[in-house]
Amino acid sequence: MKSGLKPKHRRLVFVVVAMLILAAAAGLILSALKENIVFFYSPSDIAAKPPTAERRIRVGGLVEADSVEKPGGGVVRFRITDTAASVPVVFRGILPDLFREGQGVIAEGKFADGVFAASEVLAKHDETYMPREVVDALKKTGQWKPDEKAKGSAK
């Protein structure tokens, strides 16, 4: 190494190292994408084609009115609906502050034996805010009422 590499070889080393890093990054990204993507389902999607029990998915829709039960021990049961279909959800933990009946919500977890076991429940931080996925799912079933939202913000 004392004499150093010839310019041609030097460039080769840089290119090879850069390529290696790029290839490693690309490989990591591809393998991680394959394993860690979470698909979004509406309750209708689940009714039509239930996902396998191993797969982590997200379910979004509205929290069905009068469906929230707290049998104790920090366990919460409720149903997520897009008004065409609904899914029973069981969750253990503290619900987000904005979790309410009739409110848009996204739950992440696994669907097995007809029940969605959520490990995470997201309700976003604005009372007029509706997750996009939920909006689209509601639009599909014709239940989306944008005027309600407009009323909220023009007050």
Partner: protein, 657 residues
Amino acid sequence: MIAEAGHFALVLALAAALVQAGLPMLGAGRNNATLMALAKPAAAAQTFLVSFAFGALTYAFVVSDFSLAVVAQNSNTAMPMLYKVSGVWGNHEGSMLLWVLILAVFGFAVALFGGNLPPAFRARVLSIQAMVSIGFYLFLLLTSNPFARIYPPPLDGRDLNPLLQDPGLAFHPPMLYLGYVGFSMAFSFAIAALIEGRVDAAWARWVRPWTLAAWAFLTGGIALGSWWAYYELGWGGWWYWDPVENASFMPWLAGTALLHSAVVVEKRDALKGWTVFLAIVTFSLSLLGTFLVRSGVLTSVHAFATDPKRGVFILLLLVIVTGGSLALFAARGGKLADGGLFQPVSREGALLLNNLIMAAAAGAVLLGTLYPLFVDAVGAGKISVGPPFFNAVFIPLMVPMIVAMAAGPLLGWKRADLWPALQRLWGAAAIAVAVGVLALWLMGTKEPLGALGMTLAAWLSIGTAVEWSERIKLFRAPLPETLDRLRRLPRASLGMTLAHLGLALAIAGMAGSAWKTETVRTMNPGETATAGGFEIVFQGAEETQGPNYTAVRGRFALKRQGRDIAVMTPEKRTYSVQGMPTTEAAIRSNLLGDLYIVIGDREGDKGAYTVRLYYNPLVAWMWLGTLVMIAGGALSMSDRRYRVGVPRARRPATAKG
């Protein structure tokens, strides 16, 4: 009246920016000193006008002028003054106004302190800075007028989003914007250099302090945001790889790379094209971040502007700025011939390695953030890419970088031998391995990532300390010589040492999270739970009243081996105006770890509550680490070599930064 004056000032600021963008550029091309000299007064006028507009909006917030739509929707008479003021940027329109204000101030700083830049170059920098401003003025005036009136004005405002009513978040947006917008300086300098076809050490010395400042602010902004998420959202975590967090993290990664490659330009006259490219990419990522946050294309806590017109406008701006500058780079970048050659094993080589890995990491984060949008756009379904993806990609990329980071500063410029450098690090390696083994022994082998993180933190901190002690010949030379060397050490070099140490501390803090424990349970008054070696006795909850909210406050007595230590009082607040509940976690923090208590809903009628208890080891180290990093950036910025005007001719022989 004042609001209309503010609106008018904003229109005039646009006019000033048009002058500043057009004429000096023209003058620089024709070598017309009169036209070039226009840049300075134009920049001053623009800054004054936009400051006036910002002042007018602030005034409207302070006096609660609810005839302004933004004030009515984001403020309330009952709010404490701090939040009335921070409400100015707690909404879409006001935050964009803050953005252009900072942009104008940065431009004005060049006009003010850039007296020793070549006049044509300065004129071009100011002109480009103004071009970016024009885009944002148009955005404000056409789609997001902060001074829009509503009639009839409501009696009281709708209150600032309660989550934003927090001291941490009051300062998070300005910090973040100082970072984002600070990178516009590197961008303007890069474009001006491309136009002139010249990049040299003097250029790098100009770019470095601005980039350092932007980097330090962005570091602070991200840390504040993360800290806020940690204590305010009540989830016990500090980073979620949320798209908006990523939006601020990508420019940070690219900016960190830029900071390091600019060193190579400054000291060795090499990597010029790459550095200019990074400057463009960094600012483009800042714009992309703004687009992601402001357009509402992503589901996120921050997505408060969901007007599609705005999203399209920012996207257009992004395409013009990024596309235009990359096209210019493609046409001119090749002309930036590199001077200093170097071997793969050298300081330059190590810095380049840092750059490549940082760029790959930024690319990976970009891909993960945009992939769901892409999949949705082509109609292949809705997906989300969450923390598991980012952890799986990001951590393996960072490990080799941190390993190399301790060795890099020990390598000489131009050509170095790896072996002697590694020999000096054998002690660091031994201690790092010992720390890793100790971590495994103490915490068990269930979370090997925690032990890996501790190993890396020990390796990096000791490696950095070794490099520093070699510089001052600690224990190798007589004490007076060591002290003398310490005094003469350039601040930029001390800054580097500090920043690297800060990162090591932060890594230790992040690694600690691998061992966090979480318990969710229902607690009756008088019941005891345990977490982090504490016994926690629930003493019941009571209703309390705040200035603009009501709260349920839980009382928890903290004991260790029967001895009383403290009382913790987490709250669940309901803000009266918006009827919105928020969680106020109670956190007891020390260097060992944080005990974190969240009170949830009432269960049954005997005063039982759902309670969530976390023990998060070492979290405080992360905040300490970021503070040390920022201090390193600030120290480096204060290096007098960056303040002494037009740098002298390059002296490679003494270039031992």
